[in-house]
Symmetry: C2
Subunit: 315 residues, 2 copies
């Protein structure tokens, strides 16, 4: 395939969405895409000696050395699959804060490879794009996980049945809105990983996969009550929630306000809750804001429909 690849555009701009990985019980295997926040990435290419230059229009101070940058590394993996050399220029404007638990590195990695693919007329499949972008995730977190990348590229709710070999299953779902509270504290993915126990009780694992099965069935059967009953995590949340001030209080306030359920977004510190409607998600937002206003921790909130499309080309 690669011998037929050629540039069909000089410049592409994409919007790459934030994502919520884990979906409470579906640790490491499920995720969904958001309508906001999202990053804007422009990619330009011309034939010439291989190079990648990066400009950041945001204030996150991410590295511009391509070998130290998630976009750079992902684009380099894409570049390797080509048969000619190109000079790439990346202009990135992130709004998804790194370390928020909202798939910031995945948005960069997925966004750049979707943009690159569009420059060449989309020769690569979504699964191939994910394999390129996993190099960016590896740079960011030390593991080639796809539970943010897959929903970022496919949109909607996505099941990553297996990482090796990669097996991605987009799941139909009923209309769902999410409310996110992002406390502006730093939780390192490495800390969030190291707090997890390597061993778990079989009986707890059974409880967890009963809920995973219920969540998948609830989504596909469009059964909100079943989704709600299944949104419980007996394994990860008890450990990780101690890194997030007022986690349980915020969650309970959101449930009292009508949320179906929710938990930690990715490795945190963001907390997400699911609701049946936008109206409900906004009531949940009020409840979460009221609870967090009692702390001195700055925070953002987002209300978003589950984004059905993932990364989109906008220019």
């Amino acid at each position: 395939m690669s011998s037929k690849l050629k540039l069909i555009k000089k410049e592409v701009t994409v919007k790459s969405p934030g994502t919520v990985a884990n979906m409470v019980c579906g640790f490491d295997i499920m995720g969904f895409a958001l309508e906001s926040p999202g990053d804007i990435i422009t990619l330009r290419a011309v034939e010439g000696n291989s190079s990648i230059t990066i400009s950041n229009l945001d204030h996150f101070n991410l590295p511009i050395d391509p070998y130290s940058n998630v976009m750079g590394v992902s684009l380099a993996a894409f570049h390797k699959a080509l048969d000619r050399e190109y000079q790439f220029e990346i202009i990135s404007e992130k709004t998804i804060k790194p370390g928020s638990g909202l798939g910031s590195s995945a948005a960069s990695a997925a966004g750049i490879v979707v943009a690159a693919n569009a420059l060449f007329g989309n020769p690569f499949s979504k699964e191939e794009l994910i394999s390129f972008a996993m190099e960016g995730e590896f740079l960011a977190s030390g593991s080639r996980h796809a539970d943010n990348l897959a929903p970022c590229i496919y949109g909607g709710v996505v099941l990553v049945r297996s990482h090796s070999p990669l097996d991605i299953i987009p799941l139909q779902s009923p209309t769902l809105y999410t409310t996110i509270l992002h406390p502006q504290i730093e939780v390192r993915t490495s800390d969030s990983r190291s707090i997890l126990k390597k061993n778990v009780l079989l009986k707890d694992a059974i409880t967890q996969w009963g809920n995973v099965a219920g969540l998948v069935a609830g989504l596909l059967m469009e059964d909100y009550e079943l989704i709600s009953r299944s949104l419980h995590d007996v394994l990860i949340e008890p450990s990780r929630s101690i890194l997030i001030p007022l986690f349980h209080e915020v969650k309970h306030a959101a449930l009292d306000a009508g949320a179906l359920g929710g938990g930690i977004s990715g490795s945190g510190p963001s907390i997400f809750m699911l609701s049946k409607s936008e109206q409900s998600a906004k009531q949940v937002e009020v409840a979460m804001i009221n609870m967090y206003s009692g702390t001195d921790i700055p925070f953002n909130t987002y209300v978003s429909r589950i984004n059905p499309t993932g990364v989109i080309v906008i220019g």
Copy 2:
């Protein structure tokens, strides 16, 4: 409700099917019903001082003392929910061998409570019937599990998301046939339980619930390839399969003959494989028979569609 209960029939006969619990990756939470083998149970009742008499027409020598008999204990639990006393007479002809891993005790427990419910005009829900029948399962195995009872009573493929509170979700599935090989060796459920590790690696549990999620999605999306890719058990099969001579050889022969996947039925020793069609299931049967004929262990085989109805009243 109980004050309105009265006998509307004097006698009911049911056919109660065998069931396959666990479905490979869905340990303790999934199961499906068979068309064969199945037990025939007749129940008669008249008002009078409480009593249960049991006659066995088969050769399994199960106890006829109602307090030591799965049907007796299940019927007694049903009886407690009534407001009058009855004399019950049970005539049972089992073909599902106890200890086969094909839900023999569940067929007895579920069959008798469905028969009793029919005598009174079906006042109790399926979930209530399962709660009565769980007393029989407790007598048989020391645990109130529902992963055989639920498919026996509901038919089809059933998810038991949670045992406490009981949460049963019937799952639509595409046409599936199963081929079962029952080696005539004894594997006690208690041995089969005790061989399991109480702790498992989190990473293995994640692999398992990825497959559980894939299996549920494959069933509901009618995606045979996804079902096939998901039928892997990294936690239970490696321990339990050592109790079943030639387990791996039989499984591989069945896969080579075209089966989608399969594994240990319940706690064994029966081995089940799933296929897309009856023709395929029969080819799988030949392969399994050829492999087991090399041993000196007597065995039975069954080819059966997944039974969509569960226990049925036949007279």
